[in-house]
């Protein structure tokens, strides 16, 4: 029987009943077929449907058509398992582990099935790993090991040497060479997804702002877009413009901070100091706008809480022009020194093939010449009218990821200057209506790390019964493991900085 097909777009909502339900086998075959034709697994998640069933949804992104195909299948809890996609489709590996941990169903044939975040499951079923979910610390679980006479193991974390988030890194080494790196996270797990279902709207936006502290605007925007979509609320062009300016300021501060961190790691201190100061300039612009250096309290459902008046626009323009000049000069210093280039070039390569197989996103993917960017592919908000050209780099090494940050920073400054020149009119915030019952909605935002995806499902009483969020770090951590494979262990800090992934965003 030919099932009807459902295609959805970014920012859309649709009735629950319209979602096609496939048999387990055809669900699997359709995903594999779509992905072999270039689609990307944007999301794969489960939802306890009641009546003893778990629904599994997959969203397959056809990046160049700007739409996603939505499929689902039903698994009786009694059966408690499904055939794993991972052996044929590596990008499903973490999604399937997440489903196994959250809903205690087993992806049969998964090559490396272990918990992702070490917590109890969401449906009061017996855990798949009862011994680990009840303990305080993740890590009591076997790591991938390499045996051999001269092979040694290096364990790092969860408490690291620097001021960073906790995670455990297990290196299998032969001399200096890394044979494998396994990254075990979960220490930062706060249970945000589950909390989103149980708290008021006033609190859930605060939670969204705290998914990853360096991506406040990205996640808050994704959250607001989602709720606005579910309540058919069309925000004003002015609010869209202010959100987009904030999103680009966030990108600028983080990208430039990362360039500073890379200079520190290779021991080239003048640009490290200058980049560090310049990063602060962009955070301070966000503070001028929203009263907080990370843009908290700016995005709210229905629009934004703060306006940009004429005086501020002039001030912003002036400061951005200075910053643009500084950025160019510091980047010229950094990117032309042969000692810098020799340290960055050829280090930590993630080939285009591997990037695609693992489903990497954001600047990391673009540094491996994958031309994907939500701002272009699934344009949202102001990006529907003002396009930012995508940059990609071929070399796929630390240099490429550093260069991406330079190129994107330049483009972001140009973009903000362009918008400031012709900022549209409109209400700052409009009142939103109640959420639609029995609907599902999708919201995607290109945060500075890449594709942020939020999905919500409402029940017959318009309550949110499932909130699924995905930070780009979730896709990209495996990329870091691959980047250091075969490299020297002393290259790890540099590779890590070139990814700069969020632990909190992964652990939720």
């Amino acid at each position: 029987m030919k099932q009807h097909e459902l295609y959805v777009r970014n920012g859309q909502n649709w009735e629950w009943d319209r979602i096609p339900i496939l048999e387990e086998d055809s669900f699997r075959q359709e995903i594999l077929r779509e992905c072999s034709h270039g689609a990307r697994l944007v999301n794969l998640f489960a939802y306890p449907e009641g009546s003893g069933n778990i629904r599994i949804f997959s969203m397959l992104g056809r990046d160049h058509e700007g739409k996603l195909r939505l499929l689902s299948m039903r698994i009786p809890i009694k059966k408690g398992c499904f055939q794993s996609l991972t052996p044929e489709l590596p990008q499903a590996h973490l999604f399937e582990r997440e489903i196994a941990e959250q809903f205690a169903i087993t992806p049969v044939g998964h090559p490396w099935l272990k918990p992702v975040r070490y917590h109890q499951n969401y449906c009061d079923a017996p855990d798949l790993w009862p011994a680990v979910s009840s303990r305080s610390i993740p890590g009591v679980y076997p790591f991938y090991r390499v045996d051999g006479e001269e092979v040694h193991e290096v364990a790092v974390g969860p408490v690291h040497a620097g001021i960073i988030e906790p995670g455990h890194f297990r290196f299998q080494c032969h001399g200096e060479e890394i044979l494998n790196l396994e990254i075990q996270l979960g220490y930062q797990h706060r249970g945000i997804e589950k909390m989103m279902e149980n708290v008021s709207m006033e609190r859930s936006v605060l939670l969204a702002e705290s998914i990853a502290g360096d991506t406040v605007i990205g996640h808050a925007m994704a959250y607001c877009h989602l709720i606005e979509s579910l309540s058919d609320c069309e925000i004003s062009p002015r609010a869209e413009a202010i959100r987009a300016i904030a999103l680009e300021l966030e990108r600028l501060s983080n990208h430039i901070g990362d360039l500073g961190a890379l200079s520190t790691d290779i021991g080239f201190l003048p640009p490290a100091a200058y980049f560090g100061r310049l990063r602060g300039e962009f955070l301070n612009l966000l503070m001028e706008l929203s009263g907080n250096r990370y843009g908290r309290s700016l995005c709210r459902v229905g629009g934004v809480l703060f306006d940009l008046d004429q005086e501020m626009i002039k001030d912003f323009q002036k400061r951005l022009l200075v910053a643009r000049k500084d950025l160019k000069e510091i980047c010229d210093l950094f990117f032309t020194k042969s000692s810098v280039l020799s340290r960055l070039e050829g280090t930590g390569i993630v080939s285009n093939k591997i990037a695609k197989e693992l489903g990497l996103v954001g600047p990391t993917a673009r540094a491996s010449s994958c031309g994907l960017d939500v701002r272009t592919d699934y344009a949202f908000g102001l990006y529907r009218f003002h396009h930012i050209p995508i940059s990609t780099v071929l070399s796929a090494d630390v240099y490429a990821r550093a260069l991406m940050r330079r190129l994107e920073s330049q483009r972001s400054i140009e973009f903000i200057l362009e918008i400031l020149n012709q900022i549209p009119d409109g209400d700052l915030q409009i009142k939103s209506a109640a959420l639609k019952p029995k609907h599902m909605a999708l919201s995607m935002v290109e945060g500075w790390r890449g594709e942020i995806v939020h999905v919500a499902i409402t029940d017959a009483h318009s309550r949110i019964t499932r909130y699924k969020m995905k930070d780009p770090s979730f896709n990209n951590w495996m990329g870091l493991s691959m980047a250091v494979r075969g490299a020297q262990i002393s290259d790890f800090p540099l590779c890590n900085k070139s990814f700069n992934l969020s632990y909190a965003g992964h652990d939720l």
Binding site: I163, E165, R190, S210, G280, N292, L333
Partner: protein, 258 residues
């Protein structure tokens, strides 16, 4: 080589703040210390839904718990009469949890450590930072204290790589269940005498995660805390202010550096 020197001139001298001699001005929208206009004859109807974390309590007089406050703009809507506003005052750090509860304008800012401990730490304080479930916002601000604008090390304060080299811990995040053991072990590894600083709303009271299944509501109850620095995240100068007060380098109320 020439490139570096020429660039150095182009960058000019515009680096470290002369804090604490001068406190830079914060933008008008900056949300520092909350101010309650507590006049007895204007009882204000409180819209509890605007305060999902229970920061404001209405007894005889309104009180606000800075430890539960995320310093968010929407909290102002708790009362249409504008009883709650934010000032531009960045000084928020306190020594006792109960001092976080605001009644009017006054905050009992952090006291200095006792003479004996100050003798040990006063000129050189080494801290180990532990992120225990924070979104990394607070950590980013702690890291920012090390950049050339704030230049933390000019006060003799440094972050070290191991708890065994540290005089104390600076903790962020609500303490997730998964970080509890690692935090306790890190605390035990710090030699005596040691201090503990809780930075940010999460570390003080759980922040937006309070009451969550997978987290504790902050550091209290797990290990003893000597300094509370509220904010979401606190501005680098707020953290710096707390540290300098703890070391007795700032006199109360005033910003006089000693």
């Amino acid at each position: 080589m020439w490139g570096i020197i020429i660039n150095r001139f182009k960058q000019g001298f515009r680096t470290t703040l002369s804090y604490p001699k001068e406190v830079p001005s914060f933008p008008q929208r900056f949300r520092g210390k909350p101010v309650l206009n507590n006049t007895a004859d204007t009882p204000c109807p409180i819209n509890k839904s605007k305060d999902p974390l229970g920061a404001v309590a209405s007894g005889k007089k309104l009180t606000l718990d800075m430890g539960k406050c995320l310093f968010n703009e929407d909290l102002k809507a708790i009362c249409p009469k504008g009883i709650l506003t934010y000032s531009q005052d960045h000084r928020l750090a306190v020594s006792k949890k109960k001092d976080l509860i605001l009644q009017g304008e006054e905050v009992k800012l952090a006291r200095a450590l006792n003479e004996k401990t100050r003798k040990i730490f006063g000129r050189s304080l080494k801290l180990r930072e532990v992120c225990a479930g924070s979104c990394s916002g607070c950590d980013a601000e702690i890291q920012a204290m090390g950049n050339i604008v704030f230049d933390l090390s000019r006060f003799g304060i440094q972050f070290v790589a191991s708890p065994r080299h540290a005089d104390g811990l600076m903790i962020t995040g609500p303490v997730t269940k998964n970080m509890e053991l690692a935090l306790k072990k890190t605390y035990e590894a710090v030699p005596h005498p040691k201090i503990v600083i809780a930075v940010g709303a999460c570390a003080i009271n759980g922040g937006p995660f309070q009451g969550g299944r997978d987290v504790h509501d902050g550091v209290d109850g797990l290990i003893p805390v000597d300094l509370y620095i509220p904010g979401c995240p606190p501005h680098p100068l707020t953290i710096l202010d707390g540290l300098l007060r703890l070391l007795g380098k700032l006199e109360n109320k005033e910003n006089n550096f000693r």
